[in-house]
Amino acid sequence: MLRYIARRLLLLIPVILGVTLITFTMLYFTPGDPARLTLGEQAGAEQLEQFREIHGLNDGYVVRFVNYIKNAVFHQDLGLSYRNRQPVFAEVASRFPTTLKLAGLGVLVAISIGIPVGIISATKQYSLFDSVSMIFALIGVSMPNFWQGMLMILFFSVYLKWLPSSGFNTFQQMILPALTIGTSTAAVITRMTRSSMLEVIRQDYIRTARAKGQKESKIITRHALGNAMIPIVTVIGLQFGYLLGGAVLTESIFGIPGVGRLMVDAIKQKDYPVVQGGVLFIAVTFSVVNLFIDILYAYLDPRIRSQYK
């Protein structure tokens, strides 16, 4: 198992290099002058030149890329933000806990809704509960997250005045964002749980368990769920990984200072080191989450476990 993990981590290296190259190239050819964007419309030509000199913007593509890789590899230095001259890594890392928390809470909400509802729907297929929850799940999947967030603010903050509309420090502030992310993710998880369970409960070994005289509830929890878990865990992991980098919209609606917002701001401001470092950071986290999921598979399924050895 350890060897498997080590191999997977090694495989990350080409991915990281590739991501770096792609983002670097993309950013390099992005139009717009970072100096002007950072310093604003009122800065003079002298200051612009000075800025370009400091940040090595006058160098060519190859020189800049080589320098970047050199610094990253030999000095563990992803560069400084153009805007506030802070080390990019620290900058991204300081936003990361917030994003992690948002994604974590969202997925927590999603799991606690999605899995039970999905299981009940599957066991009571075609029942009223099933139809209603499937329609809700479909609505949840169909509703753009940011629109849902806006409506929730309107309802809970403006009309009812129950919950604050922005920020992410107190428990109350976390409720709306977590629900926004949670409900739409729950919709995905519900659907996946249901279809995975439906597939599993038609399997022969479920019939075997019934034939043993096992109780239906036990059959679901002991036999079916475990086998249905892999696709569910996959979806949870994918959603979680996605939220780590892609909760941009929710973050901007609720004014949450997460990685996604940082990235979008940096992209708009052409703060290339932050974009570059941020994408890298997210790519690595995303890959680590995927690895973690694969390890979970091994835990869940002895067949996979034996392959890893």
Binding site: V15, M143, P144, G245, V279
Partner: protein, 296 residues
């Protein structure tokens, strides 16, 4: 009748194919929800095609004095901050959003499909190079990738389509590769090869038609995803911008007025929702129809 023949005559094969699609359609027709979805989509598509007839005022007909009207008999969905009919804009927006969805998914299918087919068909080093590149793209969350591409290319309809399309290429590449690998081992491919068909012919005539089913399902759901992504891009100001009536851009434009003039965001939001809802219903239905094994 049921002759076990590894190389069915072409006509026979075509006939089988036609029957197969007829069968799929028959199964699909029995799925009420899928039909509801299809009906919604047809209505939306008609609205998009005939937008100029349905909403002759166009999407940018400002009548400043009429702004912020709530829905009424002249302006069914009310008017926005510049006095344009929200209904007019939403209808013209269908054209934009649907074409973004369809074209970006087509881009993804064409490139992803091609890459996946090559990878699966040739295997070995080709496979390795292609799929590792896909892994790299997959390591970046798609919305972030789309954002980066749009910022590199600039906004605008085509660039948004391209960005959303590119960011979903890896998904299709994987699907096609997997189904090609399964197909490759099957007898009729070997048979085709045995009678001297070259690679490109095998790919075009045999592999691609036979891996269509998963692509169709994924593509239907992909259109939904693409519309959502594009709306998200517009919403954070990186996609299409006013006066373009793309639904996400309308949501973005209306967000400052949501408290006083909710209809400005309500209708574009509902349109997105209805579209995605319908696409999901149809996609689910198609999956069941194309893969009867999974049917409950």
């Amino acid at each position: 009748m049921e002759k076990k023949n590894n190389t069915p005559a072409p006509t026979q094969q075509v006939a089988q194919k036609r029957n197969q699609w007829k069968e799929v359609w028959r199964r699909l027709r029995q799925n009420k929800m899928a039909m509801v979805g299809l009906a919604i989509l047809i209505i939306l598509a008609l609205a998009a095609i005939f937008a100029d007839v349905i909403a002759p005022n166009g999407f940018d007909n400002q009548v400043i004095k009429d702004r912020f009207q709530t829905p009424n008999s002249t302006h069914w969905f009310g008017t926005d901050n510049l006095g344009r009919g929200v209904f007019d804009r939403v209808i013209h927006g269908a054209r934009v959003s649907l074409s973004i969805g369809i074209i970006s998914v087509s881009i993804a299918i064409v490139f992803g499909g091609l890459l996946g087919a090559l990878a699966g068909f040739y295997g070995g080093r080709v496979d390795n190079v292609i799929m590792r590149s896909m892994d790299i793209l997959l390591a970046i969350p798609s919305i972030l990738l789309a954002i980066s591409i749009v910022s590199a290319l600039g906004g605008g309809l085509f660039n948004v389509m391209l960005a959303v399309g590119i960011s979903s290429i890896p998904g299709y590449a994987r699907i096609v590769r997997a189904s090609v690998i399964t197909l490759k081992g099957q007898e009729f491919i070997e048979a085709a090869r045995a009678i001297g068909a070259n690679d490109s012919r095998i790919i075009m005539k045999h592999i691609i038609p036979n891996s269509l089913a998963p692509i169709i399902v994924q593509g239907t759901l992909g259109v939904a995803g693409a519309i959502l992504s594009a709306a998200g891009l517009s919403f954070i100001g990186l996609g299409l911008s006013p006066p373009n009536p793309e639904w996400g851009a309308m949501l973005s434009g209306g967000r400052d007025y949501i408290r006083d003039h909710m209809h400005m965001t309500l209708f574009p939001g509902l349109m997105i929702m209805a579209t995605i809802f319908a696409l999901n219903l149809l996609g689910d239905g198609l999956r069941d129809a194309l893969d009867p094994k999974l049917k409950n």
